[in-house]
């Protein structure tokens, strides 16, 4: 995935004589150091810059009436600089030279187009007539006759490469709309001439090329926004007849109807190209932007708008773009990573970051902070992310290694109180994962309040911290489980069932002190009364199973009740437990996945749960709108669904159990009464519906006065 990084200004551009701002600069060539560039403006000056420091190292100018006509280059062999002014005068100077008038001067017989400097070889001089000479050969006899290779053609672009230790120079020329490509090998001197396939509606705007395995690949950006790829073999040693080059479409950068203006093209690596250009689509305002394209998957990787306009020139040296933006020369750092399809379509981004950072946490727990792996991943991130990550790492290392529980709480509180970061959710996820991991390894460590606080940030889901609920189950932290069930949208059915099992099996007494949220029960249960009742039964009986036996005698007529409260209206569970069960009822589930786990419940648990559901059902039916008020109270549909599920899962068991008989009987009685009631309602609905249907017909009556308009 290619990204554009930071951007900074290298220098301001002076609109010097004879060069408007729009025309940009004459050339930008790499200096002897990778961090240096040599800038030649369209006037008299060449300047050497240190890019990272954004400062000039040296500046050389020709005399007042002279202009530099060929960008200055650096001879990598000698460290000297070479430039041409007034087309024919060659100047060579060193760093320590100040005045160009006084440096070595050679006047040539033909006009120079460009000088190409390559490492480990002599610079090549390309004349406007198409001839190529090495610099040393030229300097040996400056006045030698330079033959004219190309007749009326004008050179548009040139580039030099080293291929198998041989310098190769390629240049393109234009004549009357026809474009020609020349490939010049210097040693031995072989020139190939090719003709570019002509395009009707568009013309080439920019060229760029690279060589690999004796194959020269020329990329050509046309004004219709298409990038074409032209392959040329460098193997031929004998000059051939003029050939016509066929091109293949590599990339289409713009939609149809838009015209690309003043564009240039740069190759970043084998799969990425950068296009700088001005898109001119008539209804919109022309806007200039720099974009990186993946040629393998034809996707736009990133782009940057350049609102102040550019000269359409783009250079790229050492993972930096150089371009004129407005009146300054701007440097933009870029990064290109190997392209994969996932990266190309932008899918890889998230997983990559999360996965890598997730891995880091685990590694951090074992290794120290400065492990190369962590560093690597961190450097891959952007600046802002880096700070966050570091904070989290620091933070987590404290959690995970040795902070006491109180320290952790305090730290977390501080962290949450000034948490304004963009990826807050992910960060909370990391933290909670770290905490849970420590809980698992360290049995005494259980930062309850921290976990509650983190869950209440509402940004979590089960999948972010899969072990949290298991830990809570292990610690029988009912409040936390309730919170999880209420907050997490994606609790697996197995976990839901495990929670249900835990809730059903826990003794009501043990729940007395816990701070379970009772919001979901207060709408239908008098908490104080129930508390009292529960206490009574708890003192009389020991444990819920015996309580069940007592409750089982639900036939009101036969057994005199010890309590004043009618059995049917008595909740079989305490309010805390009821609240917990409501959390279960409220959670999302899929029937198919839930049923097998539901079978794990013991018979006693089933009966208790069924009893509670029946209680809810009856309570619910008392209400006219069939639903309890309040946010988290279960709806009648949820109650019915769970009742059906429970009976489905345990039907045989329930039928066999003698203690369930009464329960089933009363349930059946109630359901039957409900069914009868609803069938009556059905009838009423039917007749009312009929009434409504016949109404519009009867509406007219025997006489009416109506308005009618005929148009």
């Amino acid at each position: 995935m290619a990204v554009l990084g930071e951007e900074f200004t290298l220098c301001g551009l002076i609109a010097s004589a004879g060069a408007g701002a729009g025309q940009g600069i004459l050339g930008l060539e790499p200096g002897s150091d990778p961090d240096q560039v040599l800038l030649t403006d369209r006037g008299r000056t060449a300047t050497l810059y240190k890019v990272s420091d954004q400062k000039p190292l040296g500046c050389w100018s020709v005399k007042q009436d002279q202009t530099i006509t060929c960008p200055a280059v650096c001879n990598f062999e000698t460290g000297e600089y070479i430039a041409v002014h007034d087309d024919k005068v060659l100047r060579i100077w060193k760093d320590e030279d100040v005045n160009l008038d006084k440096v070595f001067k050679a006047t040539l017989t033909a006009e120079v187009y460009r000088i190409h400097s390559l490492p480990h070889t002599e610079p090549l001089v390309l004349f406007k007539g198409g001839a190529v000479q090495t610099l040393d050969a030229l300097l040996a006899a400056p006045q030698q006759e330079i033959e004219n290779v190309i007749s009326d053609e004008v050179i548009r672009w040139s580039e030099a490469f080293m291929e198998t230790q041989q310098p190769v120079l390629i240049f393109t020329t234009e004549k009357n709309g026809n474009y020609f490509v020349y490939v010049q090998k210097v040693n031995p001197n072989i020139l190939h001439k090719y003709k570019l396939e002509q395009e009707e509606s568009s013309h080439p705007l920019s060229f760029t090329a690279y060589t690999k395995n004796n194959i020269l690949t020329l990329l050509c950006l046309y004004s219709n926004g298409c990038v074409y790829k032209i392959l040329m073999s460098l193997q031929h040693s004998v000059p051939e007849e003029k050939q016509i080059l066929s091109k293949s479409l590599l990339l289409k950068t713009v939609v149809s109807d838009t015209v690309l203006k003043g564009a240039s093209l740069a190759i970043l690596d084998k799969d990425h190209v950068a296009v700088l250009g001005c898109l001119d689509s008539p209804p919109n305002i022309a806007k200039e932007c720099l974009s990186i394209w993946n040629t393998k998957f034809q996707t736009l990787q990133t782009s940057k708008e350049l609102p102040q306009g550019t000269s359409g020139q783009l250079w790229c040296y050492g993972e930096r773009f150089f371009l004129t933006h407005g009146k300054v020369l701007t440097v933009i750092v870029y990064k290109c990573e190997t392209s994969s399809l996932a990266a190309a379509v932008g899918k890889l981004k998230d997983t990559q970051t999360t996965v890598s950072s997730y891995v880091n946490w685990n590694m951090l727990q074992e290794d120290d902070l400065g492990s190369p792996c962590a560093q690597q991943s961190v450097t891959a991130k952007t600046e802002s992310k880096r700070t966050v990550s570091f904070r989290v790492i620091f933070f987590l290392s404290g959690f995970c290694i040795d902070s006491s529980q109180n320290d952790v709480e305090e730290e977390l509180w501080q962290f949450l109180s000034n948490a304004q970061m963009s990826d807050f959710q992910a960060t909370v996820g990391y933290i909670i994962t770290g905490l849970v991991n420590r809980c698992k390894t360290e049995p005494t460590f259980y930062p309850r309040n921290c976990l509650v606080q983190l869950i209440q940030t509402q940004g979590l889901s089960y999948s972010l911290c899969p072990d949290l609920m298991a830990v809570a189950l292990e610690k029988t932290d009912m409040h936390l489980l309730q919170l999880c069930l209420q907050q997490f949208p994606d609790v697996p059915e197995a976990v839901t069932c495990a929670c249900l099992k835990a809730f059903l099996s826990i003794n009501d007494d043990n729940l007395q002190g816990t701070n379970v949220n009772l919001d979901s029960v207060i709408s239908y249960m008098d908490i104080t009364l129930s508390d009292q009742v529960e206490k009574q039964s708890a003192t009389v009986q020991n444990g819920f199973s015996s309580e069940l036996m007592e409750e089982d005698s639900c036939d009101i007529q036969l057994t005199p009740k010890p309590h004043v409260v009618d059995n049917e209206e008595l909740c079989p569970v305490g309010p805390q437990k009821a609240a917990l069960l409501n959390a279960i009822l409220y959670s999302a589930y899929s029937e198919t996945f839930l049923l097998p786990h539901l079978k794990d419940l013991s018979a006693q648990q089933v009966i208790l749960f069924l009893r509670y559901l029946q209680y809810l059902y009856i309570k619910c039916s008392e209400k006219v709108n069939m639903d309890f008020p309040g946010m988290l109270s279960p709806t009648i549909n949820q109650i019915m669904d769970w009742m059906c599920l429970l009976l489905d899962a345990h039907f045989t068991v329930v039928v066999m159990l003698p203690e369930a008989k009464g329960l089933l009987f009363s349930l059946h009685k109630f359901v039957r009464a409900q069914v009868r009631f609803y069938s009556e309602l059905n009838k009423i609905e039917g007749s009312l519906q009929e009434l409504q249907r016949t109404k519009p017909q009867k509406d007219v009556g025997l006489y009416s006065i109506e308005m009618l308009e005929l148009v």
């Binding site: 509406d699 007219v700 009556g701 025997l702 006489y703 009416s704 006065i705 109506e706 308005m707 009618l708 308009e709 005929l710 148009v711």
Partner: protein, 687 residues
């Protein structure tokens, strides 16, 4: 275009009488129909089944059988024991003759049309000779026991098959003896069995007798051997009637469950000479007994006690798509039963034996299209006029001012002076109505209520002068120059009192000048029945509609069709207009919009705007809903001459009152059904 305050009237409690028998005359293309109240109607099958003629009913006359004989003479016989001949020119019973055999259940004319066979209650079959002006008793065949329910002549005219209770007989006409006696199966019911009434028989030329009986079977018998050939149980209740096509390859039967079945004689195998009768098509268009069926060349015609005449075309006998190719149902007469006094907003409803006068209600609010306005004053039933005597009313009219009511029975014309003064109604009968020679077939008051036009026999129109405070005298009798024999059944007069147009049974339209009391001109003959006439109040153009749905406009002053009418004929009317079901029965005009003609049939009313272009077949005829969605400007390009409203159905009458008010009289079929006796109980799936 026009916004109307529509008075939607549904309190006209008209119930058409059930259909008792049908007689189809293939020669003249006419269908005679007798109703249970004794009324007779003649439909012209060629003229889109237009009800050409109507003879009002009679209390004591119940027609059980109808037959065409001796050309186009129509005979009827009923339970009164009389055989009558109908005068289809003067639209009344020509004469009656006692059969002296008790109630007559059946009658059939012999194939040559010279003899009538009558089946009587006393078990006798009597033969009557049809003479040019009368019928004469010839002889009786051997009298047997049991009433004769049905009879049918053999196409050779030598045999008569007779259906009675439990048995069939075959008589030899020459000798008068019964030569064959066939017992029909009774319906087993417990220990006893119920008698089997042979409701209908047909004698085919190959000697096969087809019978339909109360057991619900259609059976085929060999008349020579007296054996049963085929039996087809059709219904669990009675099969009441059957009719055979002329080619004897198709039979239609009607059951008391309202179903109609077709039987066809089809080869057993493809190309085989052996054929068999097969029950092919069932139709259920009636809710009640199908008492009569007829088989025309192209259609099955059935009529039942639910008063519907259903014409079901046989598609295999149709060539192309036309008016005849669609299913037709007629419930309402093609005559005007309502008349309107526009100024006082009075409606006069004509029932068989009484008239009702109603005053429309009023509203004092306004609204927009589709609104139902609150009724500030309810409609008022002002008057009920009972006709004395057994004769039914054949026509009625109220004057435009609402002060005169005239009605006529077959023998008498009645005229009443009505005084409406602040709520109280008083009626005075005009005693000295001139005794006219013949009955009135149509009545019309002049626009200024000074004269009454009485349409009569032989194309004559009598003009009676109305005198205040309640008197009248005969002024003139207008007769056509052509000397037509047919009765006039449509009248219209111009508002200025100068012109009167009358259409008679021979479809001739005569225009009379009322200033000179003499014929002015005759509208060029058009070969189709006239269904409605009206004279434009401003231009004195006569608008004529025909049963083939053509519309003509004839300029009376210029004695020629108007340019618009010529344009219509040249352009042709819209397909959708021509394929409509029922004829236009009333035309009226909007004096404020001279270019508008208001027409209506049973299923729609239409404002015909002459100023707009005529639609061609590509544009939809019914475009009101589309137009209403368009902007004012866009409407102009889409609008065409026919502005049709189908909101009110079925329509018996539409008229324009003053000030943009419209009165529509609807009679929902559902309301009629509730008045009918319960049909035969049938088990329906799902009930």
């Amino acid at each position: 275009m026009g916004e109307f305050q529509v008075h939607r009237v549904r309190f006209f409690a008209y119930v058409p009488a059930g259909i008792r028998c049908l007689a189809h005359s293939p020669r003249s293309g006419r269908l005679a129909l007798a109703r249970t109240d004794g009324a007779l109607e003649v439909y012209n099958l060629a003229a889109n089944y237009f009800q050409e003629k109507g003879i009002p009913g009679h209390e004591t006359r119940t027609t059980e059988a109808l037959c065409w004989a001796a050309g186009d003479r129509l005979f009827g016989a009923g339970l009164g024991g009389d055989i009558s001949e109908y005068d289809l020119e003067k639209l009344r019973v020509k004469y009656s003759l006692d059969g002296f055999g008790g109630p007559i259940w059946s009658m059939a004319a012999d194939p040559s049309g010279t003899q009538l066979a009558v089946g009587c209650e006393d078990g006798s079959v009597k033969l009557f000779q049809v003479l040019p002006d009368k019928i004469q008793f010839e002889r009786s065949l051997d009298r047997q026991k049991g009433r004769i329910m049905s009879l049918s002549w053999h196409p050779s005219g030598t045999r008569i098959a007779v259906g009675s209770i439990d048995l069939l007989r075959v008589f030899d006409v020459k000798s008068g003896h019964a030569i064959q006696r066939i017992l029909v199966d009774r319906r087993p019911q417990g220990l006893y069995s119920r008698e089997c009434v042979v409701w209908s028989v047909a004698f085919l030329s190959d000697g096969t007798i087809v019978s339909s009986d109360s057991v619900g079977k259609v059976q085929f018998w060999d008349s020579e051997k007296g054996t049963l050939l085929e039996t087809h149980p059709v219904s669990s209740s009675a099969v009441l009637c059957l009719a055979v096509s002329e080619e004897e390859d198709s039979i239609v039967v009607g059951t008391s469950e309202g179903a109609v079945y077709q039987f066809q004689l089809l080869p057993v195998k493809w190309g085989s000479a052996e054929s068999k009768w097969v029950r092919t098509k069932p139709f259920q268009h009636h809710t009640h007994d199908v008492r009569a069926v007829a088989h025309s060349a192209t259609a099955l015609i059935s009529g039942g006690l639910d008063a519907q005449l259903v014409i079901r075309p046989l598609m295999e006998r149709m060539h192309g798509k036309g008016y005849d190719a669609a299913l037709r149902k007629f419930t309402f007469p093609h005559r005007r039963l309502v008349s309107c006094a526009r100024k006082d907003r009075l409606l006069l409803f004509q029932f068989p034996q009484h008239l009702e006068l109603w005053r429309l209600g009023a509203t004092n609010s306004a609204g927009k299209d589709g609104d139902i306005l609150p009724v500030s004053r309810a409609p008022e039933h002002l008057l009920q006029l009972k006709s004395k005597g057994p004769e039914h009313i054949c026509c009625s009219c109220i004057s435009l001012c609402g002060s005169w009511i005239a009605y006529s029975t077959a023998s008498r014309l009645h005229l009443h002076r009505v005084h409406l003064e602040n709520g109280s109604v008083s009626v005075k009968r005009v005693s000295k109505v001139p005794k006219l020679l013949y009955s009135a077939h149509q009545l019309l008051f002049s626009a200024d209520s000074t004269s009454l036009f009485v349409a009569s026999d032989q194309g004559a129109v009598h003009v009676l002068k109305l005198l205040e405070p309640g008197d009248c005298g005969h002024l003139q009798t207008l007769r056509p120059n052509s000397g037509s024999a047919q009765a006039v059944y449509l009248l219209t007069a111009s508002v200025d009192g100068d012109w009167l147009a009358a259409a008679g049974g021979d479809w001739e339209i005569n225009v009379y000048s009322l200033r000179h009391f003499k014929p002015h001109c005759t509208v060029p003959a058009y070969n189709c029945a006239v269904t409605a006439l009206a004279i434009h109040p401003v231009t004195n153009n006569l608008v004529i509609t025909h049963s083939d749905q053509q519309v003509f406009e004839f300029s009376i002053p210029n004695r020629e069709y108007t340019t618009w009418s010529r344009k219509v004929q040249q352009h042709g009317l819209h397909k959708g207009w021509l394929e409509r079901d029922t004829p236009i029965t009333h035309i009226t005009f909007n004096p404020k919009q001279p270019a508008h003609i208001l027409l209506h049939d049973t299923h729609m009313f239409c404002i015909l705007d002459k100023s707009l272009p005529l639609p061609d077949d590509a544009t939809p005829l019914m475009n009101q809903t589309t137009l209403k969605q368009l902007s004012e400007k866009a409407r102009r390009s889409y609008a065409h001459a026919f502005k049709i409203c189908k909101k009110y159905q079925p329509l018996l009458f539409v008229d324009l009152l003053e000030e943009g008010s419209l009165v529509v009289v609807e009679r929902p079929l559902m309301d009629i059904k509730t008045q009918l006796p319960p049909p035969v109980q049938q088990k329906k799936f799902g009930t």
